[in-house]
């Protein structure tokens, strides 16, 4: 069970997308796990062949517990060492000071010394439900009790079932999400000496260019101003690279790649900030496509673990109907957060006269341990410069 944030203690396996014997490549999605950020698709951390699945769907496991055995593709089954699925791929995302020490790998059995044969999943579930395994009829090898037997026992038992606690819509627990946000933001305000800068940018040229471009495109090919803002922000990091990275080790080293997080507000409240991976190589169309994809999967609760644990900077944008400016809180262990207010028509001086122009206020919240105001100002000025000549046809 990978850690998807250092405040995560356990996760519930929802679904296996592979079975024993399947060959997998690094990065393949092998399972779905339910967390406070929704259902997360788990990517395998190295290539090989799935040996045995050690956990069953529906089972809740502590972080660090093995989910499956992974053999090298060539020598499967021949004393292939048990590899713990996805151990440290997931650098803790939310709160992380001490390196995570994997807790004991196997959940405590229901009854130590008990001679009842049962799978670990069945035992764990029985403990969770507070039922004795002796009361359950087993259907596995040698009459062993399987997870499905426990579930069947519960569903046919006359006693109330609600012991496990009511769960909301599967995949998204609002109380858990609120707790995760609280933990991350409290840590940010406690540990990160923020400094803040704001700057007003004239977006009228970009807006005119965008309108002309979109007029010749069908709706599914159109660009949003948001994609230009993200593109300019990513490109501006080339000039001030120290704002892009994860402050996890000393000394701090900026990240060479840009995994650009986007704060996405959920209509029911709360927010998730998944990252567009490798955004430094994308043009505005590619950024737009990536944004559509990640917003849709965030709303549907289908993000991948790399997207929620590897962000190197975050952008928060209020969109068209928000207020003038947003002064953000850094998402630890990142070192900068860029906030865009709602673009609005304002009187601005343009070529010597006051004109109504589309304007947006951009802000930077940055970690003073790794950068200073002068560099931050250079970064916002570079975003402004890039938006005067957006890289669109």
């Amino acid at each position: 069970m990978p850690s998807l944030g250092a405040d995560m203690e356990e996760g519930k396996l929802v679904e296996w997308l592979v079975g024993p014997g399947d060959k997998v490549a690094k990065g393949d999605i092998v399972a779905v796990v339910e967390t406070q950020k929704g259902a997360i698709e788990i990517e395998i951390f190295e290539a090989g062949e799935i040996g045995a699945l050690l956990a069953e769907p529906g089972q809740t496991l502590p972080v660090g517990a093995p989910l499956a055995r992974l053999g090298a593709a060539e020598d499967v089954g021949v004393s292939a060492p048990a590899v713990q699925a996805a151990p440290a791929v997931a650098a803790p995302c939310i709160a992380a000071p001490p390196p995570p020490v994997p807790p004991p790998a196997v959940p405590a059995p229901a009854a130590i010394g008990d001679t009842v044969l049962a799978s670990p999943a069945a035992r764990a579930r029985a403990v969770e439900l507070g039922i004795g395994l002796r009361a359950v009829a087993g259907s596995g090898p040698g009459g062993a009790i399987l997870l499905s037997d426990v579930e069947r026992h519960v569903s046919t038992a006359p006693t109330p079932v609600a012991q496990g606690g009511p769960k909301g819509k599967p995949g998204l627990d609002m109380a858990e999400m609120r707790r995760a946000i609280a933990a991350a933001m409290t840590r940010a305000k406690r540990e990160i000496p923020h400094y803040y800068l704001t700057h007003e940018i004239d977006l009228q040229s970009a807006q005119d260019r965008l309108a002309a471009l979109n007029a010749g495109r069908t709706p599914d090919q159109r660009l949003l101003m948001g994609a230009l803002l993200v593109h300019a922000t990513v490109k501006a990091l080339a000039k001030v690279p120290e704002l892009n990275g994860r402050h996890e080790a000393h000394p701090y080293t900026p990240s060479a790649v840009i995994h650009c997080g986007l704060a996405i507000a959920m209509r029911g409240g709360g927010l998730i900030a998944p990252a567009i991976l490798e955004a430094q190589v994308m043009d505005p169309d590619a950024i737009m496509q990536a944004m559509r994809d990640i917003v849709a999967r965030t709303r549907a609760g289908r993000l991948r673990n790399s997207e929620i644990t590897q962000g190197t900077i975050t952008i928060s944008s209020l969109g068209e109907t928000g207020v003038d400016a947003l002064i953000g809180v850094i998402y630890p262990p990142q070192v900068a957060l860029v906030g865009f207010g709602a673009p609005r028509l304002k009187p601005m001086v343009h070529v010597g006269t006051v004109q109504p122009r589309l304007a947006v206020t951009v802000s930077l919240a940055a970690d003073h341990r790794v950068s200073d105001g002068r560099r931050g100002a250079m970064f916002l000025s570079e975003i402004d410069r890039l938006l005067q000549e957006p890289a669109i046809p």
Partner: protein, 86 residues
Amino acid sequence: MTPTDLRAAFITDLTAVAPDLDAATIGDDDHMQTDLGLDSMDFLNLVSALHKRFGLPIPETDYPRLATPAKAVTYLAEMLAAGNRA
């Protein structure tokens, strides 16, 4: 298509891009952004779905005419009629 059909199609596409909205509680004069909470990405996805369904170009300058279900039904009926005449 009758206005009722158009409204049903519009609501189907709207609830597809915003699955957390309850079709039964959406009012004819609910504003897409301020009442229903659609952001620019959701709205663009709605326009894309309507474009796909009706084959209408729906330029950005017409977006205000899709601001509420009532306005959208009027707009779609008008555009489809114009298209049929052409």
